[in-house]
């Protein structure tokens, strides 16, 4: 069972990397980062079930907590960027001052 979970985790991680590199919409980029973290969580849970040790589950729980704090920051960032630039294009976010 562990091999299958690891292979699925690798596939999900690759999909997340592809989305992270090739998209320009900042919300999709954020969700690709979430997908990467979920792929890591999946492999951690599989390792935890394979070794019958709960430590990997605790690490995965800490990752979920870090993701929650990241989500709060990203949401604030979306609101600020959209208020300033009226767009979701990451190519426009290289100048973050008041110049339009």
């Amino acid at each position: 069972m562990l091999e299958k979970y690891m292979i699925l985790s690798i596939i999900l991680f690759s999909i997340g990397i592809v989305g992270l590199i090739s998209r320009r919409n900042i919300i999709v980029i954020y969700m690709s980062i979430e997908l990467l973290l979920n792929a890591v969580n999946l492999s951690l849970i599989a390792i935890s079930a394979d070794t019958a040790d709960a430590s990997a589950q605790v690490v995965s729980m800490l990752i979920i907590a870090i993701t929650a704090s990241e989500a709060a920051l990203f949401m604030a960032l979306f609101v600020v960027l959209f208020r300033n630039k009226a767009s979701l294009d990451v190519n426009l976010f290289d100048i973050l001052g008041n110049k339009r």
């Binding site: 919300i27 589950q57 605790v58 729980m61 800490l62 907590a65 920051l73 979701l88």
Partner: protein, 166 residues
């Protein structure tokens, strides 16, 4: 094997919905298909008896974080002209997957060649809230406290970022 067929069904749902997630044009479509991905990953957690993490994944990810994303997407009032003009999106996706695919093939080949599974016998208590909680407060107490500080810092940062400038 019943759990094998359930695993393949869930893996198929996960992969297809994540591909839809990275290739949808409108962010609301990708958020909705990301919910499907997260729920099926939670079901994959339950398949290996990690019941507490299953509940955490459903409540925090699919419940809190994704509803926050949906709320923000709807709240921002995004119209089509606010979206980036991604005319060559499909070529970008194709090219990037051509670059990433060899690495993942190497990793999958490595997993298939090496014999990593220990197949330890899991006890009745594995994955319950008691098991996870005892491990958390026994061996991982310092990272737990650090994560609480991190959450506080992120909260303050979010408030300061979204404050309207005077």
């Amino acid at each position: 094997m019943q759990s094998d067929s359930i695993f393949f069904l869930l893996a198929l749902i996960t992969i297809v919905s994540s591909i839809v997630m990275i290739s949808a044009h409108r962010p609301i479509d990708s958020a909705l298909s990301f919910i499907v991905t997260l729920v099926s990953i939670a079901a994959l957690f339950a398949l290996v008896n990690a019941t507490f993490l299953f509940v955490v994944q459903i409540i925090i990810y699919a419940g809190a974080i994704l509803s926050l994303i949906l709320f923000i997407i709807m709240f921002l009032n995004i119209k089509d002209e606010n979206l980036p003009d991604e005319r060559y999106k499909n070529y970008w996706l194709l090219g990037t997957s051509l670059i990433v695919a060899p690495f993942s093939f190497i990793l999958i080949d490595l997993i298939l060649r090496s014999n990593i599974a220990l197949k330890a016998q899991i006890s009745e208590e594995f994955g319950t809230i008691k098991d996870v909680g005892l491990t958390l407060f026994d061996k991982w107490i310092l990272p737990f406290e650090l994560v609480s500080i991190l959450l506080l810092v992120a909260l303050i940062g979010a408030v300061i970022l979204s404050k309207k400038e005077a």
